[in-house]
Symmetry: C2
Subunit: 349 residues, 2 copies
């Protein structure tokens, strides 16, 4: 029982001048980072430099990756997948971004009173199939129910444990000037697929979510050559992931805009909605930062894998502008790709 | 990307004649069990017999306990603790109930838009202190924000990893006729503390939640003698936990009602509210089922620990009435202690 009195505790910083939670605090951009850095890390005793898609810890001599994510995507079923697919693949991918072989998942459900049980069943079925496809086992779970005014259908939180092979050391701090920046395929797909069926925003597109488990692709890459950093660019997109890496490693990232694989349907939808494809969420893509000597072999391995067939070199890490991402535009100029502030697309995952 | 079409999937059983989620599906009783057995286990490929507070798995040669729980308690701050304390202690305790030493926790927040950031901060502070008190590290996390109509303040989901010492084999199937049933102290305390400040139900009581981390108590017990089963009787209380054990092991459980440690304030509040103290949630107590030869030493070890000072023998496992819990009443009769159906006290944890 905690006996400390928190009643006079006040927020240490006026995050973006609001004393309250706003949607942007969940957007995976600058406001999310402030929340983590100003509130959670001081309370939990962590450090910013260690933030990655999953934590690597040791237990009983085994090196484990450990990660969790809550999923609140709206709608729960969208072109190409469901909240159940995301909940499994998203946590599998967070583990894979530490180079781990994902092994076990937990699942915790917060159900809104009145939700159709068949919807719960369809989500569970999707999770079971996704787990089988990713070769992980759903081994433990929990279910809570909240009254109809306090929830929204089904929220799923998964956590996962993976095993990090000996010698594998992947983390955002390992990016070095000269390293090559790779992306495994078309970007912006998941976000556009979800937005295309969002209430009030329906527009005609054939884009399907790219939700997929990336551990097999990662294993093929690690077998081909050294990898310094891996990241799956979900909320906040490629822009957020690259800014986080640049900041953690103290390097600059230089992109070539015309090399970014943005499919025409994503480009069209982003024009329509006023979005930057670099900030749109992906759920089946990864960014890899690899030493130049390893880049050709790693790129070949990616292209030989079904989930990396569209892999591209999109830029390099540089000593200039440390902590900053800069893109060479098609017109020959430069633009700064900043960390998104808040939320472009609420409840995208 | 899952390509299977679930649109025609229907619920395999009409759980309690409702096609929709009701509050009782989150109550930890018979309706929760139906949800798990009819929907989640078939989808996930698990088996009922293995259900315990945490799963025991192997990774890299290490034997790990793995568990998760979502916390949606209302109000978020209550006499004796907060949702932050519960989220840490609850998952620590689930790990401890496998005999594990808890090591690492993850935390995933679902924040309602508009929630005071100071409330988020107070909860984070409580989690950090509770983690330090339980000697676990909060190593990874996530934050999502949902619109104000879709959440309720702060929902926290924690998952945890613990290390199971060699030779420790604890699980509900290990209960045997002749085993002694112990409880570590006063029951019904947490549930009454939360209800005492629930909107619309305020009543005068001095009861404080018993939220506490039990891993130290468990370590002391395991050092003293063999333990077959451990369970922390949260939702559904002692009644639900003992019914689950009786069912998993195929034994009967015989209780002596006058030996149940129910403090007068809990008895009074339960009378007022029409509740059975055996069904009220605890957050800092455990039930242990131990072989008769080990019972005296384990009981002594419990009583020597601050969190087990009120430990009592409350009954025995018997070969009669397998799967059923029966209490000898104060008047000399017997009554069946059944698995609660739904939810006595919604959102108690």
């Amino acid at each position: 029982m905690t006996t400390v009195d928190f009643s006079n505790w006040t927020c240490p910083v006026p995050l973006r001048d609001t004393p309250n939670v706003v949607m942007g605090h969940g957007g995976g951009g600058a406001m999310s980072a402030e929340l983590v850095e100003q509130i959670f890390l001081p309370a939990f005793g962590g450090s910013v430099a260690d933030l990655a898609d999953s934590a690597v810890v040791t237990a009983g001599g085994a090196r484990l990756a450990f990660s969790t994510d809550s999923y609140v995507v709206k709608p729960m079923f969208f072109p190409g997948g469901s909240i159940g697919d995301l909940a499994v693949n998203g946590t599998v991918n967070d583990l894979a971004m530490s180079g781990a072989t994902p092994l076990y998942l937990s699942s915790a459900f917060i159900l809104q009173e009145g939700t159709d049980l068949a919807v719960v069943g369809r989500i569970a079925q999707a999770m079971g199939l996704a787990a089988a496809a990713a070769s992980v086992r759903l081994v433990t779970g929990d279910t809570k129910v909240v009254d109809s005014a306090s929830g929204d259908g089904v929220f799923v939180t998964t956590a996962g444990i993976g095993l990090v092979p000996p010698g594998v050391e992947i983390g955002p701090r390992r990016a070095r000037p000269g390293d090559v920046v790779l992306v495994s395929g078309d970007i912006g797909v998941h976000g556009v697929a979800v937005m295309s069926c969002r209430e009030g925003l329906s527009f005609g597109t054939s884009v399907l979510s790219d939700t997929a488990p990336l551990a097999g692709l990662v294993a093929a890459m690690l077998a081909a050559g050294e990898v310094h950093v891996l990241r799956d660019p979900t909320r906040g997109g490629v822009a957020a992931s690259l800014n986080e890496i640049a900041r953690a490693a103290g390097v600059g990232v230089s992109l070539v805009e015309r090399d970014l694989p943005v499919p025409p349907a994503v480009r069209d939808a982003c024009s329509l909605l006023g979005l930057d494809p670099l900030q749109v969420a992906n759920e089946g893509k990864l960014i890899a930062i690899v030493p130049p000597s390893a880049a050709p072999a790693v790129l070949d391995a990616m292209r030989a894998h079904p989930l990396g067939a569209g892999a591209q070199v999109i830029g390099t890490c540089v000593a200039e502008h440390p902590g900053m991402v800069v893109a060479q535009t098609a017109l020959g100029g430069n633009r700064v790709i900043s960390l998104p502030i808040g939320e472009q697309l609420p409840r995208i995952c």
